[in-house]
């Protein structure tokens, strides 16, 4: 039994090494003996300025930045925690479970507010609300919905317009999507009604925010639900037709988190990076950033998802199976 398990782990890690990445970039090449390996769900273009600042200040550290989906991060990291020094993800529940299961190295010296860290091993560094992004042209002459209820009504009022032109996360493939969906479901029954309406309109399912925003821009879809506002903003600034709506009924706000692998070989550089990350992203810093800063105001006023063991509940296989069944029943109506 144990033998087969070990074999399975070896084959998995070998597969991981060979696997494709959404993006892979090396900063400050040759700056150190070996690069600090960061596995992340954040798009490189949003994260690059931060890493560049870091390597400028720490010229003897090279950084290899690997991008993949949140669920994939969890899978790869659990399979071979020694392959990575830092894991950064927007899926707070998966990150918390990694820390809970002992994959994270505690960093006692990092000063961070209690609500933004867990066990000194998981550190939040952004506050990012889930948004509804709409194509303003599609609502010409109609009010742009400001809440989930208004969105339901708008979709029901003109099903012909929205059929096949709305998008949301495929919660089966996206960790962040699953987090947003479960948090929405906890907050209100409205979520399930919205899912049913979207299911009736043959909503398109995506595994990342960037793809959804891409399709919004090129007109494939005209409404995207639970998109990361931080991804949409640069596109909205460029593209006049896109409007970002933070639902007024209950906003769901996520905090991007980072942890250092328990098996890191570069604990010093990794800790320096986390220290840099949290201080760089602290809201009082006046610098312009590509990622939204951590906001204490958001944490209090908006429904920011807390870093607490309750996040483990929806990761339970029984519960997850049950939730996904309900979700599929609502959204995928064959």
């Amino acid at each position: 039994m144990r033998y087969t398990l070990v074999l399975a782990l070896i084959s998995l890690s070998a597969a991981a090494g060979a696997q494709e990445w959404e993006d892979r970039q090396l900063f400050n090449e040759g700056g150190g003996d070996s690069a600090l390996r960061i596995i992340s769900s954040t798009d490189t273009n949003l994260f690059a300025p931060l890493i560049e600042t870091f390597v400028t200040r720490n010229p003897d550290v090279a950084v290899e930045y690997l991008v993949t989906g949140t669920a994939d991060i969890d899978r790869r990291f659990r399979a071979s925690p020694g392959d990575f020094d830092i894991a950064i993800s927007s899926a707070m529940d998966l990150q918390l479970k990694l820390a809970n299961d002992g994959f994270a190295l505690p960093l006692e010296d990092i000063e961070h507010p209690a609500w933004a860290e867990w066990r000194k091993s998981l550190f939040a560094f952004t506050s990012e609300p889930a948004a509804i992004v709409v194509n303003r042209e599609a609502f010409d002459g109609h009010p742009i919905p400001q809440s989930r209820q208004e969105l339901i009504e708008a979709l029901r009022a003109r099903p012909e317009i929205f059929h096949d032109r709305i998008g949301t996360y495929d919660v089966r493939r996206s960790g962040l999507g699953y987090l947003f969906a479960t948090q929405d479901a906890r907050a209100s029954e409205t979520f399930w009604r919205l899912m049913e309406v979207m299911g009736a309109l043959d909503a398109r399912l995506y595994s990342s925010s960037s793809q959804m925003i891409e399709d919004l821009s090129n007109g494939t879809i005209i409404v995207a639900y639970n998109v990361l506002g931080s991804y949409a903003e640069p596109r909205a600034a460029r593209d006049d037709v896109l409007e970002i709506v933070l639902p007024s009924d209950f906003p769901t706000t996520m905090m991007r988190t980072a942890l250092v692998s328990q098996e890191t070989t570069q604990a010093g550089a990794a800790e320096a990076f986390i220290q840099f990350l949290v201080s760089y992203q602290w809201e009082d810093d006046g610098e312009a950033r590509t990622l939204p800063p951590l906001s204490e105001e958001d944490a209090i006023e908006r429904a920011t998802i807390g870093l607490e063991p309750a996040l483990l509940a929806f990761l339970d296989t029984l519960k997850r199976d049950k939730f996904l069944t309900e979700w599929e029943n609502a959204l995928i109506q064959d």
């Binding site: 002992g102 867990w118 066990r119 607490e308 063991p309 309750a310 483990l312 029984l318 519960k319």
Partner: protein, 452 residues
Amino acid sequence: MSNSVEVSGSLRNRLVLTLIGGAAVLAMLLFFAVRSYAVQVAQQGQDSILEASVASMLDAATIRDGAVELDLPYSAFSMLSTSADDRVFYAIYQDGTFLSGYEDLAYSEGQPFETQLMRGSDVRTVSASRTMIGADLRTDIQIVLAQTQDALSETLDQISRNVALFGIGFFALAAALSFWATSATIGQLDKLTISVTRRGPQDLSPFAKPVPQEMAPLVKSLNSLMGRLDQSLSQSEDFIAEAAHRVRTPLATVRSYAEATLQRVDKEENREAMRSMVKAIDESSRAAGQLLDHAMTTFRADHLERDDIDLVELVAELVQRLTPIVDMKDLTLTQNGDGQVPYAGDPILIQSAVRNLIDNSMKYSPVESAITITVAADPAPRITVCDQGPGFPSNEIETLTARFQRGANAATTIGSGLGLTIAQDVALAHGGALHLTNQPEGGACVTLSFSH
């Protein structure tokens, strides 16, 4: 006389140490008792939360279509949130078969609460089960829930710190009280010591002041000791007096006979024998008297009792008493200076000193010469006795006051060295000094000076 007492430890220290030691032991006991109670209470707190959490999980189990469904309630995990971000583990089994959660967490039959090691941390586990009965199904759902104990440790550390502070406070207070209680207790002994010290050397009366019960035996023994001492002192004084009486009375008899016989004997060699006899008696009785005087002076000087006296009056009394003897030798004894020279001193000692000085002067005075006594108040109270004799040998004036030292020209004079020694002892006992000088016109002067 030696004033040092062999000291073995200190009653005060012993008492303080015992009380402080007791307080320290009490403080430690208090610390451990409160801490173990706190551990118990805190563990009960964690256990009851775990129990509530696992109960709400079991409640969520349902049977649908003949299969068990378990929709873990969000709140079951929410309630496990702690300030120290404790890790949470759980495992769900159906009839011993693993369903979900952490497979390395084993269900414990019969033992609801356990503390064990899991993934490098001490965890507290709770095991609970529920029997589900469906239409054609009877199955057991077992859940194990585990939580690390970081918050508990933090709380306990906090409590320990507070209890330790409280214990230290208690100890400090107890120590202060110990010192207070000790000095209050020892104070009674000090009081007794002071009242013993303040007594005059002659006061051997029993203590009448009330003392604490525990000190009563001591004071009783002290009183009895002093009673015996008083009795033995007066007995020895009586004995000395009796002895002196027994010795001196026969001497007086012999001397009187010798003198009377001398009146009737004409043969020169017999007369000379009689004279020698009388001289020998005089010499021995004078020497004995001076030795006794010296002993008495030393004794009184050790326990100096000061009275307010007038030196002029004191010298006048002495002059009056000595006048008959001085007259017999056709000498004159004159007291100079009038008014009063008040001084606080031992009158008997001072009289003895001055009498010894006058005795000396009489021994050395030539026929029909004068002895002058001057009493002065400034710069310090002083009594000067001057004669018109040969004066002190200038080469011996320094060493003359040493005991038994006699002047070279005084070989035939009885005990003058001891007389000066007595006078010097008296001066020193009063913080003064004895000065020997020769007058330019001839004659010795001895000044007995006192300090204020």
